[in-house]
Symmetry: C2
Subunit: 313 residues, 2 copies
């Protein structure tokens, strides 16, 4: 199995969409630059949703323009809720779009104001058009493990939606534990039949760390050959339509685990520390996963040691 | 493979040995009672070390006497550093003792003031005597993944020590990531050959959560058939001889993961919340793993909802 892992940084979209304080376009680009400097190559940059629903994403076009002038090698994707959002994404030169369908009617109604059937059909519309236009597509199967309103999601529901989206031609499926209520056994139950049928390459895991389970779930994915993960710098985030959800698994935490385990993310851990700090400043939030705090404690140990060894300096 | 998992609560020993504030025998017994109420059946209660080295364990005999009057069904073990500690443990009616050997000379010298060969030979002495006396034995292979002084531990070193202890007759081997510097791939690399040779039953994982890797490492163990884990209520702990190490994986975190994954620990999560609070009060420390904080946030959400629904009450 491949040692290469693709980390898609979703902090600028999933991480920011629920922030209480406005984050300026300039601040978002500073976050993106810090991430690019750390070696991030895949970035979900924003979403083309209605600015009344998600005001933090109102500057989607400006963020994309800023990124276009920053780096040519970046794989930028955006989230679109429907064909209108898709058209705006395409007009703005995006090469990869994400769409969302949740596992239950209640979640789809609360999140997208439509039934699961309707949400799935909109995803299919976007996928079909994107194929005609030559854009790549990713489908988030939201609430794949747990629905915040209906409880544990039956495996068959997640499998059914996934198969439907693959049949329509989705390039990538992101199995999404939107509220961080899943466990590693669920990842095995969901992904084993999918990997058997379709291979591991097209599957991504989008994990929130609300209950500290994200790394164990990611590891369960690794054992099945999954090599694509979403994460959010410093664990930034939470979902406005999913009560109790905290942020995505912190980028520094998953990068650390994977690299220690001998896998190659291409990302430099030390530079992620700076990216956490830039993001904390941009959002006014206290950020940082376990590894950020561990890096801080290591710095402090080193300083204390130097102070002991050189008491007069 | 079995669905039963044995959780050994080590908070009273590993968790308390490094606490700055004295914890009274009565407070320790209050912690033990809260844990027993939650369904904990395996408890490492204390250690027979020199009270000058670890003052928090000076009341070892009193703790054991208190526990003996509390519960008949509890499996109590204690840590002993040498034959003298072993004799004291036996005199105090203990049925199960733990001994420690670390993976490197530097770690053994700092922790036990002896070389690895000497530490291994003392472990063997204790095991042999315990077999004659009919006591059960557990050997901690400390620094099994990482030595805080020498870096990553070669797999062969950990395997060599483990095999030597099994050959001597150790009932249980606790593969111990003492500083929380390991990763799930190391667990696989260490345990795959051991499980192939000896089966999974006699192996225990003792994981610290310094870098947030403990649950992923535990899950790696689960996939190999490991069904024994140490943990510490609320993540209490740290090692006085291992700079930068934080506490063991929190009992509530590992119990949550295993139970959600369909495994049976026999422990009630709700009652662990109380045990975290009793332990926080006893130690004067702010305690709690991810799941403790998640349980708090769920309570708050429920209260807020009730307040919205019953604004006049």
């Amino acid at each position: 199995m491949s040692d290469k892992v693709i980390i898609t940084e979703v902090g600028l979209r999933d991480g920011l969409q629920n922030q209480p304080n406005p984050v300026s376009t300039q601040q978002k680009l500073a976050m993106a630059n810090a991430l690019i400097n750390a070696g991030v190559t895949h970035l979900e940059a924003t979403s083309f949703v209605h600015p009344k629903l998600v005001p933090q994403m109102a500057d989607a076009a400006d963020v994309l323009a800023g990124l276009a002038s920053t780096s040519n090698d970046l794989n930028v994707s955006v989230l679109v809720p429907n064909m209108k959002g898709y058209e705006r994404a395409k007009e703005n030169g995006v090469k990869s779009v994400g769409v969302v369908v949740a596992s239950t009617d209640t979640f789809n109604l609360k999140n997208l104001n439509m039934t699961t059937d309707k949400a799935a059909s909109i995803c299919q519309q976007v996928i079909e058009q994107a194929k005609l236009d030559g854009l790549a597509t990713r489908v988030y199967i939201s609430g794949a493990c747990v629905c915040p309103y209906e409880g544990k999601t039956p495996v068959d529901v997640t499998l059914g939606l996934t198969e439907k989206m693959i049949a329509t031609g989705a390039d990538e499926i992101s199995i999404s534990d939107t509220v961080g209520g899943g466990n590693p056994q669920q990842i095995i139950d969901i992904l084993t039949p999918l990997v058997e049928q379709f291979g591991p390459e097209r599957f991504n895991l989008h994990l929130h760390d609300t209950r500290g389970q994200a790394l164990a779930m990611a590891w369960a994915g690794i054992t099945l050959g999954i090599r694509r993960f979403d994460s959010s710098i410093g664990g930034l985030g939470g979902c406005p339509f999913a009560p109790g959800a905290s942020g995505n698994v912190a980028t520094e935490d998953i990068v650390y685990m994977l690299q220690e385990a001998g896998l190659d993310t291409g990302i430099q851990l030390g530079a992620l520390k700076t990216a956490v700090e830039v993001s904390a400043q941009a959002t006014g939030q206290s950020l940082g996963g376990s590894i950020y705090h561990w890096m801080l404690s290591q710095e402090k140990l080193k300083q204390d040691k130097e102070a002991r060894e050189n008491p007069c300096i």
